[in-house]
Symmetry: C2
Subunit: 390 residues, 2 copies
Amino acid sequence: MHDGFGLSNLPYGSIRRDRASPPRLCVRLHDEAIELAAIAGDLDVDRALVDAPNLDRLLGAAPTAWTVLHEALRARLAEEVPAHARVPLAGAIPYLPFTVADYVDFYSSIEHATNLGRMFRPDAEPLLPNWRHVPVGYHGRSGTVVVAGTPIRRPVGQLPRPDGPTFAPTERLDIELELGFVTGGPPTSLGAPLPIDEAADRIFGFVLVNDWSARDIQRWEYVPLGPFLGKSFATSISAWVTPRDALEPYRVAGPEQQPPPLPYLRDPEPWGLDIALEVELGGETISRTNAAGLYWSVVQQLTHVASNGAVVRPGDLYASGTISGPASGSEGSLIELTQNGDRPLTIAGEERTFLLDGDRVVLRGRAGDVELGEVAGQIVSSEQPASSGR
Amino acid sequence: MHDGFGLSNLPYGSIRRDRASPPRLCVRLHDEAIELAAIAGDLDVDRALVDAPNLDRLLGAAPTAWTVLHEALRARLAEEVPAHARVPLAGAIPYLPFTVADYVDFYSSIEHATNLGRMFRPDAEPLLPNWRHVPVGYHGRSGTVVVAGTPIRRPVGQLPRPDGPTFAPTERLDIELELGFVTGGPPTSLGAPLPIDEAADRIFGFVLVNDWSARDIQRWEYVPLGPFLGKSFATSISAWVTPRDALEPYRVAGPEQQPPPLPYLRDPEPWGLDIALEVELGGETISRTNAAGLYWSVVQQLTHVASNGAVVRPGDLYASGTISGPASGSEGSLIELTQNGDRPLTIAGEERTFLLDGDRVVLRGRAGDVELGEVAGQIVSSEQPASSGR
């Protein structure tokens, strides 16, 4: 099988060749990173955009420059690349591919919203009245978005107990399988919405997202202002940002929306994305689903965010929310896969519910011959000393 | 009465002398801004910290440098300042004083939380069970934090109606009177909490915050993930950041906390702040309160944020949530002042509930002879063209 990192993909990342080298903007070609500064002279683009540590400058450029560069790279990398531009990925150190401006997390999977509703409000309609009208979302913490591979320290927080909260390491550490996108282009003007037919142009590319969640902290804190410390300890994203152009062939119609969305959210274009997704835990695949099932599309998400006049900046990260499918085994979180811990999974012969110290989770996504950058993360004990950051 | 901008204050701002000049880091002395680059040679500090467009570099420096600079400025500005360093504030253009990293909004006034609970859950305990244990908060949108004086365009959004939502300009545009602080120093390490006896050192200074709110958008969208587009259209902060050292004489004991907070939130130091606050609408003062009544202190807020290992960065903005007092006329929002619109205020002879186009709101705060930078904002119609951003 194709490794998914050929000329049709060419995702961008920020890579250090070794611990002594600074991060450089690269594209991935199979098992190598190509330093763009080293081939900038062969590309008909502004050198400053690619002779850079990461994607920040390119994200700030006009969207038309992205397609020009992607095309130029496809042509150039079909030819021989000099050895000094090539960095073997084995031994290279990935860095966060862009500086995260605002981070928004949506709740766009109807199956996920329904599953959680059934668990938490068993006597009521599982889907809340606003859900089919509003692409529900909230702002997350930009400062703790980390690159795939970063160890995740088990967070400590207030856990609910019958006689009042205790402050202890979370006992319900979970994953959330999500698809994210990063925006670019000049910032929108304060007060100026982004019409839905202009929103797609602002999407630079896509990453996988693991929105790590401490369910006990979250449950205790989240009423009435939403998730906070149950999520803000870490959010992992792919080291590689797959350009929008590479996923263009995999756009499909999304699910029918009933009732039809309000006019500002009606998209004339199909923006479902046929990306097969899977979650691996302890070396076993525990979930398989597809991003095409998301009820609210990426374009609807972005249009909604800007509809009140909020500024959309280069480097904003928007994540889908947990992606779950209708079938058993297609849920994107452990709380769903184990029915709130009541039905353990069997992994390597052991019954398992939430994450244990030492667990390694890997998220993967693939559209045809385009592989998204995987998101791996290993849980370390809350007793371990903290990492030195990104 | 002292104007509140003497040598005991010296707040920092980013000021353009005129439309042709770039923003420069200044301190305010009475009705002038003093460009720090112009007097840097007289100050025994790293020139790069003050020869800058705004506070970003100083926020990234070690907290000890802040006190050194503040003391040096007090000494230097007691003497004559050359004319070329002085910018009359009349005609000068304020800019956002620092780049906002993460923005967190708390809910720290027990009176505000109780008032809203009574309105929205009339048959239940007004205060939710978590409130006296957790400094409840959520992340807001950094990209739409704007400097005082920026016109606020009435946001459009989904408003609830009996037969389903409509997409229209908000009909319940409100203010929230808040006290904010900005953090500095090197970023904390991912996974490393900030013990409560180290948190205060991270607080660089204080601003007033108007967390503009569209109550109808907010009510429809906020379950279960919290406020989103009802808040993200604009948040205004003072053009001047009052250094922590200037407010040191106004630290007081906060309210008694019952039950006592969990040990990680127990502060050996008093961190209530005796700052008299007021809200002006249409030229009339409609609310008077004091920040000393806040249940959760600024130090408890920051300690809580970092307790799960989240990174605290220079430029993070933390706001208190609406500050309301126990007395009638001490509420920090129109929804409280008018009891959800049921009891209009009389302003200039007219009955008023929520904000109308053209309304001008000013927030003011003062501790002894230290005046905080006011936060003014005027509402413009959603029909007006959008501004060109900050």
